[in-house]
Each structure stands twice: as C-alpha cells, then as structure tokens.
Symmetry: C2
Subunit: 122 residues, 2 copies
Amino acid sequence: MTVDVDFGSDGLVPAVAQDADSGEVLMLAYVSPEALERTRETGHAHYYSRSRDELWEKGATSGHVQHVEEVRVDCDGDALLYLVDQEGGACHTGYRSCFYRTVEGEAVGDRVFDPDEVYDDG
Amino acid sequence: MTVDVDFGSDGLVPAVAQDADSGEVLMLAYVSPEALERTRETGHAHYYSRSRDELWEKGATSGHVQHVEEVRVDCDGDALLYLVDQEGGACHTGYRSCFYRTVEGEAVGDRVFDPDEVYDDG
C-alpha cells in the first residue's frame, strides 16, 4: 500500500467504522496488519480482538458484516477510518452504533435487533 | 458522571471527534480523566498528547477549537465520541479532517487553511 500505517508498539491501530451513507459513527476497534490486509482483500471489515487475542471478522457470528467501501488513514498514519455498509447493527447490545449513550448515561441510539436472538450461547 | 469510562492500563481512551452537523469524522486522539473533565467543564475539546505527555486543548495554538455539543461513550466504556462544532480545520496539515487520505494514498479531503499561516514556529 502507498500510505505507511504506524501500528505502534503493540502492533495495533484504532479504527473507526462509519456508516458510508448516513455518516453515523458505528464503533471503534483495533486493527493489526493482518486484519487490514484481510479487510482490503475481502472487502469485509476485519479487526483484532485485544481481549480474545485473535483476528476477527466483524459479523462472523451475528451476520452483521460490514462491507468496506473505503479505508482512510489519518495524518500521522496511526488511526484508520473504515467507511462501511453495515448489515443489521454494529453493537453486540443490539444498537445500530456502539456509541448509543451520552456520558451522562442517556440512551440516544437506535436499537435494531435483539441480541438474544442473534447470539446463541447454547 | 453516570457512565463509568474505562481508561485502561495507560490511563487513556481513544476519542473520535465528529462534526455534529455534517457527520464528518475529523480526528482521533486520546483522552485522560482530566481531559474529559476539562472538556465537560469548558465545552471545549481537550485531549492528552501521548508524544508531548501533556493535557492539550484542541485549538489552543491554532484557534481551531472544537465546541463540544455532546460526549458519547461506547458499549464497553473504553472509547469516546465527541460531537463538535469545529472552528477552521481539525488537522494540523490544513485539512478539515485528519482522515484526508485513502490507504491507497489518494487525497480525498478538503484543505481549509494554510498551516504556515496558522502555526508560527518563529
């Protein structure tokens, strides 16, 4: 790729996923070099889970994949912006966006699915 | 505040600044507990500079302050979204947004000021 991405000391950069049509900021997650490569190859957003310590395709469990229209890099090369077409909701809680609350605790987002129906723990 | 923010092991959370009107994602920076407190108290976006290791008011040098209309928290409480009214441009390079390039290196953003006229190094 043309722009060098600075993956920093932990090998990850934060990536913001934004709805390409509405402009809604959907989530923030982390991306490894392999996650970026897979995202560009497949057109589906991939991230790296810090808690599970593994590469992760968004929507692999829920079906709520993100079709990536464009990947942008910031001025310092240490943050990414994924412009996506989001199937269903981005948030595992059922909201369209993970940023569904104000810091004062007021819910301002739209709930678009029931997580109990999407994630089968059985 | 009502929502507990998880500042993690380094005491910082990533914060996305988004234009409250246009929805444009302007920048990503890091926020300490004090930066969040000052942001909420003053209504001007504050961040914590990892490179300079200090609290930082956006626009203190350039005048390109961010008036914060709302602060949102994500589902895990470890990322913030500042909805802002941005004076001038968010990026020190003169672009409106720091995400002015695709990962392929194509410039897609709007340049709104000349950094040589705004930042006086003399």
